[in-house]
Amino acid sequence: MIIGTENYLAVSLLLFVIGAVGVLARRNLLVVLMSVELMLNGANLAFAAFARARGVLAGDVIVFFVIAVAAAEAAVGLAIVVALFRKRGTVNLDRFTSLHQ
């Protein structure tokens, strides 16, 4: 059975959607951060699959840059989480309500 681009797109879409559900549904900060990584991986997979379907290697170049940028974003995200944790002692999103009015 030949593996077509649709198969790769289906996997990338699933990863993207599972990531989105994780971001919206989970209250643990670290898991939300990981879910964003999942979404980015879904996008990366879609880029690589389309690069093969279209025969344009630019897709691979974008994935390479996206991995680098996602790492920088995760680093800053974790810096924020640790800075907050040091003060509040919790990573539960619901306990961060001092901004609600």
Partner: protein
């Protein structure tokens, strides 16, 4: 042979993605995310994107996840707290609604996307070919990324360092 490997890797990737989102213990989520990243790296290999296969392993599974697990270890959440952070009812309902909507929309978009030839490894994504493109036509984004990384370093140190 390729199709068998593709199916195994995709099932592993999706299953570990679901585990990442659903496990209450963040270390278990981190571990299943690492498995998912390695599976996606394998999928890159089946797409003959050899360079991406190794960069995904090196940067994502090798450095980002080490940092995430490191932070989990550092913050080492109390047992009690971990249990309380499971999936919360209403939010799950809302987000699955959104997910279904997005899946329907995009599936419909992609159903029309026939006409793509089967993914024969026509495009050899080896390090040399990708590098040739990066350093000739994408030089500008390459320099922009160095500035972005520097901004991230400054940002992290400003947030991390106590001696202000």
């Amino acid at each position: 042979m390729e199709s068998v490997l593709f199916w195994i890797l995709s099932v592993v990737a999706v299953a570990s993605a679901v585990l990442t989102v659903s496990r209450s213990n963040p270390l278990a989520s981190a571990l299943s995310l690492t498995v998912c990243l390695v599976a996606v790296a394998g999928l890159f290999a089946t797409l003959s994107a050899h360079f991406l296969f190794i960069i995904q392993l090196l940067v994502y599974a090798g450095a980002v996840m080490v940092l995430v697990i490191y932070v989990i270890m550092l913050l080492n959440l109390k047992e009690r707290e971990m249990k309380a952070l499971g999936l919360s009812g209403p939010r799950v309902f809302v987000s699955s609604l959104v997910a279904v909507f997005v899946v329907a929309l995009l599936a419909r978009a992609q159903s029309g996307s026939g006409g793509f030839d089967p993914v024969s490894p026509v495009l050899d994504g080896s390090a040399r070919r990708v590098a040739e493109i990066i350093f000739t036509s994408y030089v500008y984004p390459f320099e922009v990324v160095s500035i972005l990384l520097l901004a991230a370093v400054v940002g992290v140190v400003v947030l991390g360092m106590k001696k202000f």
